[in-house]
Amino acid sequence: MIEAAFFALLVIGMVGAGAGVVLLNRITGAALLMAFTFLCNAGMFLLLGAETIAMFQVLIYVGAITVLILYGVMFTPQRDRPYALFFQKQTPLAALFVAPIAIAVAVFSFSFRDSTAGPKGADLAPLATSVFRDFAFPFEVASVLLLAAMVGAIVLVKREDE
């Protein structure tokens, strides 16, 4: 009962804010709503019982990625554009393609059934064993990926005059 109420709240928040990101002309509003969507998604993870993932979601998405995107918003100011200029020219075509697929997928996703196994406990310990035992190699590769991203971005951002 209480779960269903929270779920309904989160769905409204997530879908509404997500639509706002796409539809708002004002980019600062879009950024705020994006952060709100991330928070709602963390709430969804909590409903699923994945509390560690929910915390990571807030830490990475709200605490770090939103800050980066805000920097992007701040460093690329745009003069006020007329509303007509903020969609691409092919918008109707894109909407025409996306809408049927979206409706089909959303309807289809209701056909998934829960497992019969009961609810599971905390997710931190199995997560850690999985990452460090079964996924040791991808874990190291992740660090190389981060290193590559760091070096690449520094090269891109660095001014030439230094």
Binding site: L32, E51, T52, V62, V67, L70, L124
Partner: protein, 382 residues
């Protein structure tokens, strides 16, 4: 469902407990802010050989209440060029996570909002949300001072978050749990973490000072260069909420220090009586927390402010490598000696002394390179 005290209905008790917890936390934040503003002014005054507020009430005790009422009655000005969405959202984004931190703060056994399995992770997560509010506040004002203050503040907060979290992870390594209750439980008697991993405590303390924008890291509000930083365009109650949030943040950081390194509610006589014990626990916890709040104020009255480039290079070139080395050394020793924490403690104390001793050395090197650069420039000019 857990039945409540005095035979209360479980559902009713669950709701009632929630309401009580929220009300207590909100009351604590506002009273704490009022008390700390008064304390701050008095302590500054004592250190600088003044008397501080004296006229409103006995010893000026009512001064902060008068200030709070004045803030409520002040005109709320929103400059014409500000960004509406961000300007409105910023105080809420700073205030709400700060209040939510109080959920996991362990005042005494059983006297805490909720004992989350991932309590410490939850606290770091909320700490990282503050940055968002400050960047937004700085940018929304559309004021050059605010913007630079906001950018500086964001740079400072995100940088110092890394050593802060790594210091916390060092504690988790030794304790082996993220639950605040378990962390307190792991430090009975005099075996507090401050004796076992003092270097992590020192690095967390420095990073905590920076995270709460306190002197010597209060660059965003450096009034000599930036007026009031990201707060320049804020007035009246909006400004007041930022202020309350800052003091709440100080309390949260102090209580994290008290919990993680100084044994939380542990203290003499906590096991004498099932009802008196928790009350004493709350007392010990509050005393430990406020001790660190007072240390923060003492530091404010003593130290000058850093320069922004010094601040950033101190974090990235010194503090982060030190915390990472500390983490790895602690990990190796914990694994090598699984039964005893004495080797960890010895290594950590040695590292702490090296840390403290290296600061004058680094300063001298810095000064030498600075002089060399100045001399080269003079030579070039001549």
């Amino acid at each position: 469902m857990v039945p409540g005290p005095f035979g209360l209905d479980p559902v009713l008790w669950a709701v009632l407990r929630l309401v009580i917890a929220v009300a207590l936390a909100a009351g604590l934040v506002f009273n704490g802010a009022l008390a700390q503003i008064y304390l701050e002014r008095k302590i500054q005054a004592i250190i600088q050989d003044r008397t501080g507020p004296m006229h409103t009430g006995p010893y000026g005790l009512l001064q902060t209440f008068a200030d709070a009422i004045k803030l409520l009655g002040k005109e709320d000005i929103r400059a014409r060029l500000t960004d509406h969405w961000f300007f409105l959202a910023a105080p809420a984004i700073v205030f709400a996570p700060m209040l939510a931190s109080y959920v996991v703060i362990p005042f005494a056994p059983g006297v805490m909002g909720a004992d989350l399995n991932v309590g410490l992770l939850y606290l770091t997560t909320l700490g990282s949300m503050t940055v968002l509010g400050i960047v937004i506040a700085g940018w929304a004002s559309n004021n050059k001072y605010s913007l630079i203050g906001g950018l500086r503040s964001a740079g400072q907060l995100i940088s110092y978050e890394v050593p802060q979290i790594v210091s916390l992870v060092t504690v988790v390594l030794v304790v082996g749990s993220l639950s605040m209750t378990a962390i307190v439980g792991s430090q009975p008697g005099l075996q507090v973490n401050a004796l076992i991993i003092p270097l992590a405590f020192v690095t967390y303390f420095i990073a905590g000072l920076a995270e709460t924008n306190r002197v010597p890291f209060d660059l965003p509000e450096a009034e000599s260069e930036l007026v009031a930083g990201f707060l320049t365009e804020y007035s009246g109650m909006r400004w007041g909420l930022f202020f309350v949030a800052e003091y709440g943040e100080v309390t949260v950081v102090s209580s994290i220090i008290a919990t993680l390194w100084f044994g939380g509610w542990h203290g003499p006589f906590t096991d004498v009586h099932p009802l008196l014990g928790p009350a004493l626990g709350v007392l010990w916890f509050t005393l430990k927390t406020y001790f660190f709040v007072l240390v923060f104020m003492w530091i404010r009255a003593t130290l000058p402010r850093f320069r922004i480039d010094q601040l950033m290079s101190f974090c990235w070139k010194f503090l982060i490598p030190v915390t990472l080395v500390n983490l790895l050394v602690t990990a190796i020793l914990v694994l090598a000696f699984p039964t005893s924490l004495v080797p960890v403690a010895i290594a950590n104390w040695i590292l702490l002394f090296v840390f403290a001793a290296s600061i004058p050395f680094l300063q001298r090197r810095r000064l030498v390179s600075l002089r060399a650069r100045l001399a080269a420039r003079e030579h070039a000019v001549a």
